[in-house]
């Protein structure tokens, strides 16, 4: 999953776009190591020491990983669980809306 997200973040640098994670790793040491290895630069909420049973994913009823929400510039949920090219298309569409000032 990381290569696609990494290239999305790189491609949209300077655009009104942000990738925000909710990370469910229990072990922060391992997490930092992985972020280093995979050049994961985006910001993530931490789901706490209970990992996948942490408070954010529990409240949001997340039972599968990854789970994706795409949110427009007005803060409205517009797409769920889009991956790969579908994610790119969704983001591009919403960026065009944001720029048109819709």
């Amino acid at each position: 999953m990381y290569p696609h997200e990494r290239s999305l973040v790189k491609r949209l640098a300077g655009e009104p776009f942000a990738l925000i994670g909710v990370n469910s790793d229990k072990d922060k040491e391992k997490l930092f190591q992985r972020m280093e290895e995979e050049s994961i630069t985006w910001r993530s909420f931490w789901n706490g020491p209970d990992g996948t049973r942490g408070p954010i994913s529990a409240k949001w009823n997340v039972t599968g990983w990854p789970t994706i929400y795409v949110i427009d510039h007005k803060g409205v949920i517009r797409f769920k669980n889009v991956r790969g090219e579908e994610m790119d298309k969704a983001v591009d569409e919403l960026l065009a809306e944001a720029k048109a000032g819709k």
Binding site: G21, F45, I77
Partner: protein, 352 residues
């Protein structure tokens, strides 16, 4: 050598580490406490006979040399001295004192928790060895080469001599060990381990029968029931529902009830084929789910049961996204709404 070290760690008034309940391997607090001076160890039994004064039957005194013994011996000696004190109290026609002393003696003589811990530690050590052996293969050049070439036969050959852990054999050991602790309130620990770690239906049923017949109201169900909150693949549909219903109706603890009801909800909702739920069963499952939220809102089952409503009512396409306020991985607090004005991909991820 070890006992000498232990002997010198104690100062009058402070309890030496070797005499802590933890070191002695007792599970719960019990109705007794130890005090220590350089010459003697005193067991005080709560509620035994407060009117009896310092020399009364609510205590037993042993020489401080007790400290040089192994923990199991210390326990046995303490239990024996309390049993004698209980007999003396009974002979003096003081039944409440006798009962309290007997209770304390039984608690000290109960080694179920200690033996359970030892068995789990033995299992953990074996599984660590197995994991390490697997890891050695996976990190070897031969394996990497074979995996890259997708040479299944070579991969299998590399793993052929790696030991495996036989969880069913371990489940049998826990079932056997349970037999030795028939009168202990901690006997369910052994059955619980066996039940939670086997995928063999026969073994699972062998562990479940005493848990339901003899230990239905045990506090240990608080732990075991967590695993049942998502149903059971081992038991099959009908039996899973039967077990969860028995537990939900029969256990006094709200958390256990909540786990059992959430397990029943998940089992019904996920059933397919001939077990697929009809409308009536779905409605009953919904009632179970609401009840889970009422019974234990702060438990994981309670939060998960409530989250189903949250997703339905707040997380659909076209809805304003609920805010998240929490710490990032570096420990800095931020909010999802800090990014309003930008297109946001919110990605629940992890690497485990």
């Amino acid at each position: 050598m070890e006992s000498l070290t232990r002997c010198t760690t104690g100062r009058a008034g402070t309890l030496p580490p070797a005499l802590s309940k933890r070191a002695l391997g007792v599970s719960s607090a019990g109705n007794w406490d130890l005090t220590y001076s350089t010459s003697r160890v005193v067991v005080r039994v709560a509620g035994a006979d407060p009117g009896a004064g310092p020399a009364g039957a609510h205590r037993a005194t042993l020489p401080a040399s007790l400290l040089r013994q192994e923990p199991t011996v210390i326990r046995t000696l303490l239990a024996a001295s309390l049993a004698l004190a209980a007999n003396a109290a009974a002979a003096q026609n003081r039944p409440p004192a006798a009962r309290a002393l007997e209770e304390a003696a039984a608690h000290l003589a109960d080694t179920a928790q200690a033996e359970y811990d030892a068995l789990v530690a033995e299992y953990d050590a074996e599984s660590e060895l197995v994991n390490a052996a697997n890891l050695r293969v996976r990190e070897s050049d031969e394996y990497k080469k074979a995996a890259e070439a997708r040479d299944r036969e070579a991969v299998n050959a590399l793993f052929k001599n790696v030991p495996r852990i036989d969880r069913d054999a371990w489940a049998k050991r826990f079932l056997d060990a349970a037999q030795q602790h028939g009168s202990s309130p901690d006997q369910p620990l052994f059955y619980g381990w066996a039940f939670s770690n086997t995928s063999n239906k026969e073994l699972a049923e062998a562990a479940l029968a005493p848990l339901l017949d003899k230990h239905l109201k045990s506090e240990h169900w608080v732990e075991f029931s967590k695993g049942l909150a998502y149903g059971s693949r081992t038991l099959g549909h009908e039996r899973t529902l039967e077990v969860l219903t028995t537990l939900a109706d029969g256990h006094p603890n709200d958390l256990v009830k909540a786990n059992a009801l959430f397990g029943r909800y998940n089992t019904v909702k996920r059933a397919t084929g001939e077990n697929a739920p009809n409308e009536q069963q779905l409605a009953a499952a919904e009632r179970d789910r609401k009840r889970v939220v009422e019974l234990a809102p702060d438990s994981y089952a309670g939060m998960s049961a409530a989250a189903i409503d949250f997703e339905r009512e707040r997380l659909q396409i076209g809805m304003p996204v609920p805010d998240i306020q929490s710490e990032d991985t570096q420990g800095v607090e931020f909010k999802l709404s800090d990014y309003r004005g930008k297109v946001v991909v919110l990605d629940f991820w992890g690497d485990w």
